[in-house]
């Protein structure tokens, strides 16, 4: 499965950057539309790959960046979860662009401290 190897890579990278001590509550990532990743599959794979790891029980928070659609006929721009759409002006092939970003943005960690 496409998402499994990505979930494994996120897990390895998150462990590498995890602060010492503290329990990781969630890992936040950002994914460009070009990557073609499915949020629900990623979340399912995340549970599987973290089962035996220090990240067990943590949540994977996925921000999906959409396609940017630019219509060459009417000049309008909008975002869409899919690349091939028609424009309401009648243009059948507006230009889709997207990023292939796959970034670890942050981690939310529970730390014990003194009052």
């Amino acid at each position: 499965m496409h998402e499994l190897s990505i979930a494994e890579a996120i897990e390895a990278q998150a462990r590498l950057h995890a602060p010492p001590g503290g329990r990781i509550r969630s890992v936040e990532i950002r994914v460009g539309a070009l990557r073609g990743l499915e949020r629900t599959s990623l979340e399912m794979c995340w549970q599987a790959v973290t089962q035996e790891s220090p990240l067990a029980g943590s949540e994977l928070v996925v921000e999906m960046l959409p396609w940017q659609i630019d219509c060459p006929s009417c000049g309008r721009s909008w975002t869409s979860p899919v690349p091939f759409v028609t424009c309401s002006c009648g243009e059948e092939r507006p230009n889709p662009t997207a990023s292939d970003e796959l970034d670890l943005i942050s981690m939310t960690v529970e730390e014990e401290g003194e009052d």
Binding site: A9, R25, E111, D115
Partner: protein
């Protein structure tokens, strides 16, 4: 004083595939320094990746100048086919892996004598999705589609189309026999990647291969220029 639990958000801003990217950059540095054109060939199972490489190696009179790497989940059949046409081939068994990663290419490079090599063909695992996102250290990425897969495959795999330096449309000799809208296929490619060249080829009949070979020769001389410069 009581112990309290604080929740803090730790900013990271790092690439998920950073470890792979670092190894890929190392591969690229080695290959570029030696003036080797490394081609990452990505296509679906049955699209004719191995057949295309056989025809390519035959035309280049492979021998010592060309080398191959083949990624497959199992068997060495493709590697054995390529070994008939060039001196060095490494078959990489990926096990459960649906794509090649930079570390596997790094390890395979370690098994090769790269001195006489001008062309390194890396046949990725048959898959139009996963291989695209993993940098191997290649100089160029080639997306291989074929007529028998159907004319909607470019539209369904925009990442490969966007990332490819060249799109090959294989089995073009079957055009009179299968239902394939070539104009629509090219329009889909253009919509995602307006600049990428699309070449019709047939690994079986040899049709269009001279243009593919000319493209390779041109890209190889660019890599050699970079290694000298």
């Amino acid at each position: 004083m009581a112990n309290i639990v604080r929740t803090v958000q730790v900013p990271l801003a790092t690439r998920v595939l950073e470890s792979n990217d670092v190894i890929a950059a190392g591969n690229r540095a080695v290959l570029t320094k030696l003036g080797i054109l490394a081609v990452d060939l990505i296509g679906a199972p049955g699209s004719g990746k191995t057949a295309l490489l056989e025809a390519t190696l035959r035309a280049l009179s492979g021998g010592p100048r060309a080398a191959g790497m083949v990624g497959d989940l199992a068997t060495r059949r493709d590697g054995d086919r390529l070994a008939r046409w060039c001196d060095q081939v490494v078959q990489i068994s990926t096990g459960q892996g649906c794509h090649l990663e930079a570390q596997e290419v790094h390890d395979a490079l370690g098994q090769m004598d790269l001195t006489p090599v001008d062309y390194l063909f890396i046949e990725n695992v048959g898959n139009l999705i996963c291989p695209v996102g993993f940098d191997l250290g290649q100089a160029v990425k080639v997306g291989l589609f074929s007529l028998t897969e159907g004319d909607d495959k470019a539209a369904k795999h925009p990442y490969l189309v966007e990332a490819a330096d060249l799109i090959l449309l294989n089995k073009i000799d079957l055009l009179p026999h299968v239902s394939f809208d070539r104009t629509g296929f090219v329009a889909d490619v253009r919509q995602i990647n307006p600049k990428v060249p699309v070449l019709d080829v047939s690994a079986t009949t040899g049709e269009g291969l001279e243009r593919w070979l000319a493209w390779l020769v041109e890209r190889a001389s660019a890599v050699r220029g970079a290694s000298v410069g």
